[in-house]
Amino acid sequence: MSVELTPDGTIADAVAALRAGDTSARELTDACLARIERDGARLNTFLAVDPDAARQAADEADAALARGEGADRPLLGIPYALKDIFVTRALDFDGRPLPGGFPTTAGSRILEGYRSPFPSSAEERLADAGAILLGKTNCDEFAMGSSNENSAYGPVRNPWDESTVPGGSSGGSSAAVAGGQAYFALGTDTGGSIRQPASLTGTVGLKPTYGRVSRWGMIAFASSLDQCGPFTRSVRDSAVVLGALAGHDPRDSTSVDTPVPDYVAGLTGDVRGLRLGVPREYFVPGMEPGVEAAVRAAIDVLRAEGAEIVDVSLPSTDRGLATYYIIAPAEASANLARFDGVRYGLSAGADELWENYTRTRGAGFGPEVKRRIMLGTYALSAGYYDAYYVKAQQVRTLIKDEFDEVLSSVDAILAPTSPTVAFKIGAKVDDPLAMYLNDACTLPVNIAGLPGISVPCGLSDGLPVGLQVIGRAFDEGTILRIADAYERVAGFGDLRPATARA
């Protein structure tokens, strides 16, 4: 059985097969589309798919491959999916709908049917790299959630166990990659929305350093925390996609102009001599024993490979959640103000201005989004600003400083990604605090603006567990190298859900 011929292999294998002429972009695309056709509706992974456009793009990719363009375009002929939080160009210069353009909903009713007049930076860069866009994946509304149950278009099911969640907020992307519906997918990570769903679906999820990848065209949730990154089925694939995405974009003033290294070339498989810190605060109460066991075993594997493992402390970790749930909603309360029914999206059509605002936003936003807008508005209000927003910024600095100090003595940090494996759909919907705790191990990394990757490290109760590797700012190279070295020896790189074997 050749792994390239099913849509469950890696980008690296698929690229090799394309170059060798053993397969075609059209075949890869058809294989993904067949899987979407078979499982997509049941798992609710996609909000929009355009098979004709994908096949046309695949044929163009095959023509380009035939012309020998593969050498300069690392993703030429590789089908992928975009979280529906990225705008995709769907209108021409005169504002007329472009044939084949996807709507962009952000998982919200308020943007139902919205068509963007411009593409996201991610879409442009991946198109330049030759990737084929299959469609837009389901997600929590405006990326707010940890289970994908907050999508206005219904929950996504985890291919490992369809009664469980795929994580969130990039749940459609994680499930699509785990379930062989795309070779890779993009997600966004504000507090863990790439790494946590990667952990829950046995995929590799990378959140780059804040500023490494342009946010142009990503619908903002919390602007100082949001970053986009890939879901892949191997660490090497993650390095390939990051290489295509990374780099300065003059349209995003927070994107940083630092050189982009060759991430793939840095995957030496060698961790000897690296000092890796394990922060005791990340093994939190309430963590599932199976998860802790898998993560500790993964740490032992890296020790056996020659890394020096040291205990470290990040004492403010438990302040992360409170800090995050002030800063992120505060920024969101402003970012979501533009959805007012005046220029685009849902409009209640009321006769009076304020009635139109309240009715549009009342009908267009789901309960979690409303909760966060209210939290954020409260935190920024006169009389509360200093006690909440300013204090949260101070704690943010503290958390950053603690990471900086630890990372001055170790090369990277090892931690669990999520304290639990995938939980049942509906299990936590009525308990927002329990839901928020899912991100306790990931959101400090966003607060500090650092890169983090989740790599599969085994199963607990038959469901995937993720090891999180956190690095220094703009040092994605080191965490990719560690995760790749681990993946090579640990043997969990071929973990696939039952759907892939069917």
């Binding site: 963007s116 903002a220 349209r251 003033s253 402003a334 103000a337 533009r338 006769d351």
Partner: protein, 491 residues
């Protein structure tokens, strides 16, 4: 005799000005700030996803706008922030605000703590007005109430760079407030930061006013006055408010902190919004824009660009060049005209004749072309040419009257005035013999008038001069004709 029991009040005024900056593109996107040359300004044609607040867009700072605010701050003797200039989001819902927040500055403005010396002609003297801050923000869209229960929005103005300049409560009368506005307008135009045209809306002004008993150190209840579309309405609205406050305070009636709009037609202010309805704008740092850190070198470069400001220039004209206040005022009201005058003086002409010609005939010709927007620095005849012409008059080689004719031509063509004088034969005869011969001829032609003059009819002198000038086709040096004629008649 009745003794007035009226309390003496002191008026406290602060002014807030919004000026549109003269940049070619908007504050955070590449859209033009004005329609292309010769194009009509059709609504919603100068827009893009950024200034329309479409999902997924991000702002990018317009460097020139930052520069113009720093330049203004430097001209206002402000401190320029170089450590961390922060933009903040000012949150409120209104259809003219596409993002639901305005990117503005709050805690750390670009420039602060300055002052402007304001001449107050109406009160004779000057007042120093403290400048609290001059900061940068983006303009809102323009709403038009279309009637029949709906409004339309034009986003062409949305995102145009706007500078807000706030004063300390240093102004003590409506006349001072008006003088401040006029002086600031002059300054903004002189440094090229803004067209500062109140009628066109590129300068908007608001005043806040309170009264307190003389000697008191605490402030009274403050009222903000808006909807002022000229300096005159600013002064009138403030006068109205001062009277209203004084009356209320006299009667012991409480005043309400509120925003009032000026009703130009009826000459009164009307309540627009009370403090209770005031918005909580929930300012917080704009996360899409990293703090700006203007380098010392950049600030130094701008400091060197601050030109001599109108107030300084006016003082120099009066004190050093001996011009009248009036001439100095006319010249400095127009930076280009003042520069033209300076160049004429530099070319060797004494300040007074230079001022006479520049504010007189030259300005008259310039005003005739005002509709074309012609400025002194674009006139075909450069200051060197005008200086040559004035030199010819001083030397008696051309008469004042003929010089005006020459100037009218040279103004349009840029031709050397001396060449025109020669070509058109407008040179002046200053040859005593030639003039003497013509005088003799006139004396011979009009013997009875000569006799009458000599017997006391002094007014006939003018008639005889006229006859000489007529014979010489106006080219005689009038001063010489007078002198020679009188010498012969009185001999």
């Amino acid at each position: 005799m009745a003794i007035s029991t009226r309390t003496q009040f002191e008026t406290i005024i602060g002014i807030e000005v919004h000026a549109q900056l003269r940049t070619s593109s908007k504050m955070f996107c590449p859209c033009p700030t004005a329609p292309a040359e010769g194009q009509a300004d059709e609504p919603n044609t100068r827009v893009c996803p950024v200034c329309m607040g479409m999902p997924g867009t991000l702002p990018v700072i317009n460097r020139r706008a930052v520069e113009l605010v720093m330049l203004t701050g430097l001209a206002l003797n402000c401190r320029v922030e170089i450590d961390a200039v922060r933009f903040e989001r000012k949150n409120y819902f209104y259809p003219d605000l596409p993002k639901g927040y305005q990117i503005s500055q709050y805690a750390l403005p670009l420039t602060s703590n300055g002052r402007l010396v304001v001449p107050v002609p109406a009160e004779g003297g000057e007042v120093t007005v403290g400048i609290t801050r001059a900061h940068l923000e983006e303009d809102t869209a323009r709403m038009q109430h279309a009637g029949r229960g709906y409004s339309v929005v034009d986003f062409n103005r949305a995102g145009v760079p706007l500078m807000e300049i706030v004063t300390e409560p240093d102004i003590r009368s409506p006349a001072q407030a008006r003088a401040y506005g006029e002086t600031l307008r002059e300054l903004l135009r002189a440094i090229g930061a803004s067209n500062a045209d109140m009628e066109a809306g590129s300068m908007r002004i608001e005043g806040n006013v309170s009264l307190r008993p003389v000697g008191s150190t605490t402030f009274g209840t403050k009222v903000e006055v808006k909807n002022l579309n000229s300096f005159r309405s600013l002064e009138r609205a403030l006068e109205y408010e001062v009277a209203r406050h004084a009356e209320a305070l006299e009667r012991g009636e409480p005043l309400v902190q509120e925003t009032r709009g000026w009703d130009e037609e009826n000459g009164r202010t009307i309540v627009q919004r009370s403090k209770e309805e005031a918005n909580d704008y929930r300012y917080f740092p704009e996360p899409d824009l990293p703090p700006l850190r203007p380098s010392e070198a950049w600030v130094a470069e701008l400091r060197a660009q601050v030109p001599e400001l109108p107030a300084q220039r006016r003082l120099r004209y009066v004190n050093e060049l001996g011009l009248s206040e009036y001439d100095a005022g006319v010249l400095t009201a127009d930076a280009a005209l003042a520069a033209y005058f300076d160049a004429v003086v530099e070319a060797g002409i004494a300040p007074k004749p230079a001022a006479n010609w520049v504010t007189g005939e030259f300005s008259r010709l310039l005003n005739q072309r005002a509709a074309d927007g012609l400025r002194a620095d674009a006139v075909a005849l450069g200051p060197g040419g005008l200086a040559r012409l004035i030199g010819e008059i001083d030397a008696g080689r051309v008469s004042g009257t003929n010089a005006k004719t020459v100037l009218a031509t040279a103004f349009e063509t840029g031709e050397d005035p001396v060449a025109i004088v020669e070509r058109e034969g407008l040179g002046q005869v200053s040859d005593g013999d030639a003039i003497g011969a013509e005088i003799e001829a006139v004396l011979a032609e009009f013997p009875s008038q000569v006799a009458d003059y000599r017997s006391g009819k002094q007014q006939l002198f003018g008639f005889l001069v006229g006859q000489v000038m007529k014979r010489m086709a106006g080219r005689a040096d009038a001063r010489l004709v007078n002198q020679e004629l009188r010498r012969r008649l009185d001999a």
